[in-house]
Amino acid sequence: MVTLALPRLLLARDSARRAGSMVERNVAALRSAYWIVMVGGFLEPLLYLFSIGVGVGALIGDIRIPDGRVVGYAEFVAPAMLAASAMSGALSETTFNFFGKMKFMRLYDAVLATPVRPMEVAAGELIWAMARGTVYAAAFLVVMTLMDLTSWPRALAAFPATVFVGFAFGALGMALSTFMRGWQEFDLIAAVQFALFLFSGTFVPAQDYWPPLRMLVEITPLYRAVDLIRGICLTSFGAVQVVDLIYLCALFAGGLALAGRRMARLLLK
């Protein structure tokens, strides 16, 4: 048993090490100007929170959430902004940047001539994409807690969940990128992303939608992510949130597997 398990364990360790070397390359490529990108990614959800959550929220007043409680509008919107920023952070790194590295910099052609395998490249790139998203999530949760939009224990629980949301969207973005033929098609992703941002129960409870539309919204990934984060930050973690987690797990695993396979098909031909 041990003799069978040990080589497998060593193989897994090698794979992790090679995925790590992909991350290292990205750290080396990091330049001083990168903090500008970082600040931009952090500011975006914060601006939405203040303009809509606090600003528009002052006009709306309090709203009733599904569990019957009445909360301030900013409290309602904040978890959704957190989920949406995890999505957009992960997508920007895994669509535009990933595509550019693959098609134009031809970076992965060189990497795949080494012992590193396509799946390890995909995993490494995803870990890297999420390193950024993790910083955003932590910073945003601190702001939320300081503004009394959630409690410290809830924020602590929401942190890993937000990181996980990022991984799921990152895997999805990477898989989608392997199907893109040119930059133009990324406009389509951006349009879908914006639609998700507006209609995933972010600004209005999805329960208020026309039933068929509500069903459609409920099967989209950002809805599941918002539902999960809002459950942790604001309401409660129940059976529905377990469904959210399973949904995002499937998205992550499926996306990563598809991305690795597609990369092998595109680059190892």
């Binding site: 090679r18 070397s21 390359r25 080396a28 910099m105 060189a110 001539a113 080494t114 012992p115 590193v116």
Partner: protein, 319 residues
Amino acid sequence: MSDPRPNVVRVSDESLVHARGLVKRFGDFAAVDGIDVDVRRGEAFGFLGPNGAGKSSTMRMVGCVSPPSAGVLRILGMDPARSGSRIRARLGVCPQVDNLDPELTVRENLTAYARFFGISRRVARQRAAELLDFVQLSDRASSRVEPLSGGMKRRLTIARSLVNEPEMVLLDEPTTGLDPQARHLVWERLFRLKQQGVTLVLTTHYMDEAEQLCDRLVVMDGGRIVAQGTPRELIERYSTREVVELRFPVPDQGAYGEKLAGVGERLEVLPDRILLYVADGDEAVAEVHRRSLGPSSALVRRSSLEDVFLHLTGRTLVD
């Protein structure tokens, strides 16, 4: 100063590349159409051929980044389909088009690449310094890749292919597009590698490159091997010892073709000159003068691999 390395490297019988009936198809098109190749440890082996002959496709299969469509392929005694990662760990690859990392410096291109092979950071830094010295790029170590000249990029790509101390280095057209100085520098470095016992597999369509570097080579055309041997053997088998290049002061050289019949073993009429393939060039020129044909110039030269190449693959432009 004495060089401790022996000048003659033993070529062993061990096959580092073993291919039988190797085929690469893209859709209906067979880029490589059933080739048999053996590359032995320690030798420098060349793939010669015009563009589209299947050289790069072959190199990608040997580099384990392109699965064969049919046939047998063993690299370092292993099957690429099952042990690709393990094989690649022991290969160095210098692709036809430089794919250096534009977001990294010259030195980082080597250190980051070393990490893909699982080489420790300390050793990676040490190797990078040695290799930059080897390809004479030490003074550009902190520069980005983009402002480098074509020759410098090529040398850096070659340095990168050596970062894992490979047993076999695959070089796809290592000097295409380089100026003569850069080309000679690359040749000299490759020759030193060969002296150190590194097996070299290269593609080229420069005959002087093949003659200088290759112990053995195959000529490919249309995905098949049309000839193989040492450069000398190929010249002896497919050409004559000498070639006479005649030019006549008329627009149409073809008219002289018939008049030259019987001089030498073979004759080729080109738009601007006539080539006579002969054993003795001076004797042939004397015969031309005896027939009082009066060429405006007559050049006698040794037969080269280029004559073999053009004889085997034809003069038509393939692209």
